[in-house]
Symmetry: C2
């Protein structure tokens, strides 16, 4: 069998690994990450996910949530994985598999994947963010993934959009995540449901995806929720356009599949709020590759030199 790359996406619940050649995913593995069972246990799971591919692999790329020192392959901190503080994952895996290993932030991996194989293909300046429990982000600037000085670049969710806004999980006020994080979208719907009838009342557990579906079906509460959340996201994107001036803004994560219910208010607010709209070209689009983006991006990153050129 021809050589390929192992791309891995280590999440708080599952590890998704795949053996890939370029855009093509040859074989997949999906196992639990045992993220709360401590470092030894979750490291063992990562090794288990790689093992079936080791003989055919040329190198290994790992995407992982948290603050990553990608130059040295160190997980400085991960919110999902218990006990991972300043762990040199690259050297541990290198020892085990005798293969080159690179590690990067999971949203950076998604951004690389969408840039090389997905919706952001061919653009030099890309900003991608994920809507999920949290709001993560990543930027490609002048054709290079932006890591920043401390591996923190692209933290879109924790930018202030309003000084005296409500308190975010991080302890600061008015951050975008406080408006666009999944549980805050749900909380917004619940507040409205106390005052207005809504088909959302039929559900025991609400998710942003359920609210999006109800909005498409014409539910007033659900529509109001998305128009308000879309407004806040649009303000955030206007800030991104002011600072990064990307060719394309990509929204990733489950809610990004909501379609016009989300994208109409987002695009409208951005258009109204951005400086110099008449001098700009930009697009705001949903991601294309779904879960594959992170795997493909991690595999791609494994092949990049430190100067970010393909070997």
């Amino acid at each position: 069998m021809k050589k390929g790359i192992v791309g891995i996406d280590v999440g708080g619940t599952n590890i998704k690994a795949a053996f890939v050649r370029g855009r093509e995913i040859i074989r997949r593995i999906n196992i639990p990450s045992h993220a709360q069972a401590g470092m030894d246990r979750s490291l063992q799971q990562i090794k288990l996910a790689i093992a079936p591919f080791k003989k055919k692999a040329a190198c290994i790329g790992v995407g992982i949530a948290g603050i990553i020192d990608s130059g040295n392959g160190i997980v400085k901190f991960s919110p999902n994985l218990k006990g991972w503080n300043n762990v040199c994952l690259a050297s541990m895996l290198r020892r085990e598999f005798k293969l080159p290993v690179r590690v990067l932030n999971d949203v950076n991996a998604i951004c690389l994947g969408e840039w090389k194989y997905g919706v952001a293909r061919g653009y030099d300046n890309v900003f991608l963010f994920t809507l999920g429990t949290g709001v993560g982000g990543a930027a490609i600037c002048e054709g290079r993934l932006l890591f920043g000085a401390n591996g923190f670049a692209g933290e879109f969710g924790h930018t202030t959009i309003t000084l005296k806004g409500p308190m975010c999980i991080c302890g600061h006020r008015g951050h975008l995540e406080r408006y666009a994080g999944a549980k805050y979208i749900v909380a917004r719907a619940k507040r409205k449901m106390k005052k207005q009838r809504s088909r959302l009342a039929d559900y025991d557990v609400l998710t942003p995806e359920i609210i999006a579906r109800a909005a498409k079906q014409g539910d007033t509460v659900a529509n109001e929720v998305f128009s308000e959340v879309g407004y806040y996201i649009g303000i955030g994107i206007a800030n991104i356009l002011a600072l990064f001036d990307p060719d394309i803004v990509v929204i990733s994560g489950g809610i990004a599949r909501a379609g016009r219910v989300l994208f109409d208010p987002v695009r409208k607010t951005t258009r109204q709020m951005v400086l110099g709209a008449q001098h700009r070209h930009y697009k705001i689009v949903p991601a294309k590759l779904g879960d594959d983006a992170g795997i493909l991006g991690a595999a791609l990153f494994a092949q990049l030199t430190k100067k970010q050129a393909l070997i």
Copy 2:
């Protein structure tokens, strides 16, 4: 005489030109820009500023406020220069002087200058902003100047820090420039002077520099002004750290020389507001090269290839 580079900073009032070799400024010229007299007149002034150096020059770099297409040397729009819309300045000067010419945004030029020869030397990730009439910005990401898709990158002044804030000159609310632009700093002082005694009352015309001096001398109103303005700037910088994660944030422009009166509240707010302070290294410092930064940066840019490597 050995060959050198012509570096030019075209402002709304003056054109500063110099003949430089690397960091060294061999000779300077300073002439009025006649910016309001229309394009022909101000173009003539630019040519006048270059003419004395033309025999010894290897190439020409021009920094100019506005939206610049640096790849093609086109001034798309300049707020300072009347009548400059989609003008290919590079080709006009190339025809006149038979020399390679490159054009870039003035704050980008300052950022390049401080990066190569000034306070940001040796860092891969730099964010610089200017405090003046407006609040401009520029970023160096992974060792490359960020232009963005439309020449808009780094527009720090027009990022929203509070949704329902006061109206900015651009027509949107709560932009950083609305708090940190020179006339808004002065207006803040004047509001306070109506309620409190201040030595600022001795001045017919107030500027941020005068207010800074009074603050250093212990004037209460002036100190309050800088502590409030510093707070807003600190919030803005926390957003920059979240998104770009620079090694160093450089504040340029006259007010940046105010010292601790400005930097203490800025640094305090940034430290309080930034995500993951314990995992970060960053510095917030004043620019070092003053007016020379723009000239040296423009000259440096003239020598860069389109891939941003030195020839």
